[in-house]
Each structure stands twice: as C-alpha cells, then as structure tokens.
Assembly symmetry: C2
Homo-oligomer: 292 residues x 2
C-alpha cells in the first residue's frame, strides 16, 4: 500500500499506473508533476492525480513512492531538482525503456552514489499514444515489468516496487541492467527505428501521398510504432546507443543477405529465411499472451 | 453476374472472393482448383466452392470468369494447362501482388500474346493467414483493388472484373503495370521483407527464446506480416526484384543516416527524422479508413 505516490511525467505510462493503483485501492493520494498545465489539468479531470505540481522538489515531499516517467534524457535534470527534498525512506523508481543510462544519470544527480532506495524499472507495455488523455487503468494487465536492482539496492525497496506493479496487474521479473538494455535494443528499440526509418524513407519520395494511398493493413501494423513520441525515442536512441548499434549491425547483415538473394534470384535462400522467420514469429505468438 | 466462376488457388484471397460473391448472389456456380485435397475438401465444407478439381483445364471449361489466385511464380505453369480449354469469351484475371511478371508469364503461356480477355488485378487486402480456412466474405469490404489493363485488353473484360470486385465490396482503381509494381514494392513488399529480416535476425541469436519472451505489442504488430506464407513471398521477391531492390536501396540509405546520427549522438537529426515519420504516419492514419 502506498500512502502518497508522486508521478513525475503524467503521460501514458505514469498516468496508467496511477489509474490502476487507484482502481486497486493501493494508493491514497497521487501528486502529478509535469511542465504542461493543460496535460496536468486533464489528468486531474480524469481522476488520474489528486494534486498537480510543476515543481518536483515540492511534490516529492512526504511521498513514500516516487515514479519517474519522463523521457530517459530528462532523468538527471529531474533528479537534481528532487534530490534535496526526497525523504530517506522514500522509494524512487522509474519506467524508462533504457536502464544503464538512467542509473548513470541518477548516480550523477545524487552526487556520485545511487540511492539505496532507487529501483530501476521498466514496464514492457505501451501504445503509440502519449499524454494523460491516453492513460488507461488496464495497460499493465498481464504485462511484464522488468526490475534491474543494483548490488547496492535495498531489497525492501525492490519488494515495494514489485508489489506496486503487481497491484497494477503486471508480472514482475528481475534481470541485470546490461542484459535488459541488450534484449530491449533487439525487441523494441530496433523495431521502432526500422519503422520510423521506413515511413520517413517513403515520406521523402515525391509521390508519397499516393504511395500511402495504396498501403494496407500490413503497412498500418508495421508502422504503428512510427506514430510514437519522437522525443521519447530520440532519448532512447541516444541513451542506449551501443546496444542499438549492435542490434542494427546484425540486422543490416541479415538485410544484405536478403538483398543478395533477391538480386541473384536465389529463391531457395529467400524461402529458407522466410520459413525460419515465420516459424519463430508463429512460436512467439503461441508463447505470448498478447498476440491476438 | 457470373454464371460459372473458376477459382484457381482456393486460399485466403480466392476463397474470400468466392464467399463474398456468393453472399452478394453475384455468382451461380464456383469451381475450385487446387493441389491439396484437404484444402479443397475444407473449401467445399465451408461452402466456398460447389465443386473441386485438381485439373485447371477441366475446371475452366464452361467458366465465364477465371481467377488465378496462386503464388505469382506459378502463373505460367497454370496458364499453360488451362490455355487450350479456356473459352474465347471467358474473362481471365488474377490477384497477384506483382503485375509485370504475371503479365509476362501469361504472355509466354499463351504463345507470346496476352489474351484480350485477360485483366491483371490485385486486391490490396489480406491477413498473415492462408488457406481456405482463413477465407472470409468481408475481406474486401472497403478495400482497394488495383486493375492494370494493357493496351490490348478488351474494355468489356476490364468492366466485368471491376463489377465483380465491386460486388465483393471493394473499391476499384486502375493504374499502369509499372506504377503498380513500384508503389507496392514500397508499401507492401519492402515492409514484409524488413519484418521477415528482423524476426530471422533475432531468431538466429542464441538467446532468441528469451529475446522473444520480452517482446511486447510493438514487436507483435511490427512482425505480424512475418507470419505470412513463405512461398508466396519468395515468389513476390523473385518477380518484382527490380522495384524491391530500388526501394530497399532507398531504405538502406535512410537507415545508414539513422545509424550515423545514433553513433554521433546527434539528437537533433534523430528527432527530425522521428517527427517527419510520425507526421506522415499520423496523416496516413487520418486519410485511411482502416487505421484503427
């Protein structure tokens, strides 16, 4: 049970958690922090938060749980503001898609030492929408949340964050920071990059309006993630560059093989690649709860 | 109105058209042709076809409309079989995702001359499923069908094919063969290739099982088309190689720019690309009927 939750960044991710915890009656009072007055007003109107603030330091005072749900490039600046006001016993966690860079920023903001009550986390859930208007209580139902506690992390803090996400309906797993960043580069960051790249590549072409006119369901689904928030994804790319470049390199080698097979008219090679991919994708779907 | 429709290849595409025309009472009798006995039996059981055959020549006898709905690499072989039995007044059309190579195959099969009653066509609709079991009458509702009649095509034949697709609920447009193949390379063939490539690239990695375990909705949608039929897509790649390689080349240049920006930590360039892509994708969605 959380008495006073402070959500910094009341968008899809932070707002949905607040809604879920309120529905579960797992939280007493929610303070939302953001820069946009209109978004905060909407969050109050929708009952996502009970109180709005533009000042992280004022907002974390008295909070027993603080969630950072801002683009990963803003973590250090926000933490510098809230650090002096954060209570010793308050638990600090985040929802960023990158963990290594977030930990490094928190360390810098807290004077070179990661607070023992900081628990790095990442809910693997979302849509291409953003803002408080997009938040909904069911976002985390059955979804995975990855926690990457450090050697210095207080186990009680990790347990509290875990309990919070479970109250929102999620399954919680733990892994190392480095492993998280590699796996997510492959399954999430790279696909986003490829989708953004494809839409941009087509949009630059002269007849782009006409090209999109003849696009169908496959294109729509493939490019859905290209409607995601540009700032959030800029930050992810900047802050998980090494793992993303490695994943992109492996992918480009695969693409070169496909290109060679097409240029050579090598139907056997193409069919083999497509069969392997289809088998893996079908297996992913039969393993996964959310494929239909 | 069609008296006797012959559908060669009773899968998602051919089967769905037969179902739609039956529901619209636009067709009298449907003969289905295929190699797989189980698929044809299922098609009869589901009322998609009234009669099954393994022999294209026997099946087209007496048909006033013949639809080729086989992988584009099989068109020539099928046409060689049915050519001697096709009535002079019968209309022949196809549903292939590639038009140039289909026209070339029909030309070769008919002794170097494309029949005047052949109308190349392509319904821009489908799912990642295949086979008669996946067919459904509503597949073409509100979808576009592109017809690419040639200079030598009988306008009456084109009108009949157009009327048939309209009866199935589709909107029909006309364009040239070359334009079709370029536009579809960009909006459909390239995305399929990229999705197959990504899934294969991940599946090859050692921890692939675990990688997929942490994939979420973005990955699921991005890779849906990688569950498509490998033979169909092998044939599309082989038969629209030139346009696909051109689209892939443009895309690889875009990807290289993204890679450079990530490696250089160039947040401004990344954000600009992501913003352009998001704007184009959001515009596509507001223009498109099928984006939700």
């Amino acid at each position: 049970m959380i008495e006073r939750l402070c959500v910094i960044g009341v968008g899809l991710i932070g707002g949905s958690l607040a809604l879920a915890l309120k529905e579960a009656e797992y939280v007493g009072h929610v303070v939302g922090v953001g820069r946009g007055a209109a978004n905060l007003a909407l969050a109050r109107e929708r009952g996502i938060i009970d109180e709005a603030s533009h000042d992280p330091a004022a907002a974390v005072r008295g909070a027993d749980m603080v969630l950072l749900a801002v683009p990963v490039g803003s973590v250090e600046a926000v933490c510098r503001q809230l650090a002096p006001a954060l209570a010793e016993e308050a638990v600090l966690t985040d929802a960023g898609s990158v963990k290594g860079a977030v930990v490094a920023q928190v360390r810098r903001a807290f004077g070179g030492r990661v607070p023992a009550r900081f628990v790095p986390g990442h809910p693997i859930a979302g849509t291409e929408q953003s803002g408080a208007g997009a938040a909904f209580a069911e976002l985390y139902l059955g979804r995975r949340v990855l926690l990457t506690p450090l050697a210095e992390t207080d186990p009680d803090a990790t347990a509290r964050v875990e309990a919070m996400w479970r109250a929102a309906g999620a399954e919680v797993e733990r892994m190392t920071v480095a492993h998280h960043d590699e796996v997510l580069a492959a399954t999430s960051h790279l696909p986003h990059l490829l989708a953004f790249g494809l839409v941009d590549s087509l949009a630059r072409q002269e007849e782009s309006r006409e090209i999109f006119r003849y696009a169908a369901g496959g294109f729509r689904d493939f490019t859905r993630i290209a409607s995601s928030d540009p700032v959030m994804w800029r930050d992810i790319c900047l802050h998980n560059a090494e793992a993303i470049l490695a994943a992109l390199g492996a992918y480009r080698a695969d693409l070169a093989e496909l290109e060679r097979a097409i240029a050579a008219g090598d139907g056997e090679a193409l069919e083999a690649i497509f069969r392997r991919a289809k088998a893996a994708r079908d297996r992913f779907c039969s393993d996964s709860t959310g494929c239909k």
